[in-house]
Amino acid sequence: MFTDVLPEQGLSMAPSARAHFAGKESELLLLIYRQMRSLVGPHRDLDDLVQTALEQILKSRFEGRSQLSTFTHSICFRVWMKHLRSHYRWRALFSSQSDEQPKHTIDPKTPLAEIETNERLRHFYRVLDRVSPKRRAVVILHDISGEDVATIASIVGTSEATVRTRLRDGRKRLRELLEGDLYYGREPREGPSS
C-alpha cells in the first residue's frame, strides 16, 4: 500500500540492461510517450501518466526476455489501468453528455483543420471511454498500435484466447457506439471548398 512500485511480472534486470537505460532516457521517454498516447489519447493527464510510467520503468527490472517495447507497453498499460481505477467511477458519474458530442467538419484547407483533427481524435477516445478498460486496451493495442495477439497477451498479462475474446467484444461494442456517430458514422465528404 505504501509503495508506488507496480507489481513486477517476475522479470529481473540484468546489469547490462540497467546500463542500457542509462543515457537513453530521451529515447525511452519518446517511446513511452507514443505508447501512452495511443492508449489514452490526447488526455490532459497524459504528461503525468508518461512521467509515472517512466519512473516505474527506471525503477523496475527488465531482463530482456521480451522486447523493450513490449516491456514498456506493459508498464504503460498498468500505469493507465491504475489511473483508471482511481478515476473511472468519478468520470462515469460526472462526465456530461455534452462532453461526448462532436463538432461539425470543416474545410481542410483552413487553419482550423488541425483543431478539427484534434477534436475528432478526442471524440474517438471519449467514445472509447465507454468501452470497458480491458477490452479497450486490447482494441487499441491491436487495431491502433498494431501489436500482435501474443504480444498483447504478455502486455496485459493474460492468455491469447482471452485477448481474442476481448478484441471481438471490444470491437463489437465500439461498432455499436459509433453507429450513427457524427464523426465516424459516415464516410467524410470530399466537397469542393467554395
Binding site: D47, T110, L112, I115, T117, R120, I144, G180, G185, S194
Partner: protein, 256 residues
Amino acid sequence: MSWERIQVLVREDLEATAPSDAEILARFSRLKAERSAAPVSSFSLSQYGFGALALGALAAGVFWISSGGTPFTEGVRVTKEAWKERASLAERPEDRQPTVSAPTSAAPVTEPALRREPRDSSPTPRARSLSAPRETKRSDPASLALPEASWEEIARAMRDGHEERARELIVQLRGSSDAETRDNARLADVQMSLDVRGGARTLPPAMLATLKDLRATGATSSIRGSARRLLAQLEAGGTPAAEELPANSPSSPAAP
C-alpha cells in the same frame, strides 16, 4: 464507416496531432525541473489517511495494553461516600462565582462625553506620506500588448487537452488586425460553442448570429463556405440520414 477505415483515420489523426520529439523532450525537461524544485511526497492523500488511521489504532492498542487490558470504566467505582466527598470539594470558596453588588450610589452613570478634538490642520504622518502623489511610471502600451496567439498554440492546447486555454487563444485571435485570421477565429469559436443534444446540433443565439454574419461577409470564400455548410447542417437538424449509416457487417469494404 467501416472499422478498418476508422482505424486508419485514428492512426492518421494520432500521427498528425502528435507533438514533435523536440517538443516532447522540452516539455518533460520542464516538468522534471518543476518537480525537482517543489517538494513532492511519495504518498497520496488516501495513503496518508490510512496511515493516520493505522497509527490511531496502534495508539489505542498500546494504551489498552498498558492499562492492563481492562475496559476503561473498570476500576472506577463511584460510591456514595466518594460522591459526597466530591460534592464537598466542589464547594471550595475559590470555586464560587464572585458576586458583584449593585451600585448603591444614586449618581447616574454617564458615559464620558465624546469630545471633539480640534482638527489638526497639519496632515497626519500617514496622510502626509500619501498626500504627494506618487510618480507612477506610465505603462508603455506596447509592452502591455500580448503576443498574438498562433494556430499552432491553439492546436497544441487542444492536443494537450487544455480546451479552456485553446478558447482563450481563439478569443485573442478574434481581435487580430488581419481579417482572415479574425474570421477564422470567429469560426473556430462558433465550432467550439457547438453543442449536440439528442442528436441535433445547437448553437447559442449569439453564435448563430456570428455564423450568419460569416456566411455573408467572411473574409475568404472558404470561411463563407464553411459557415454556409454549418448553417445548412444546423437548419437541417444536424442528424445523419438513414442511408448514410454504416453497414452492419464489420468487414464492409472501405469507401474509396
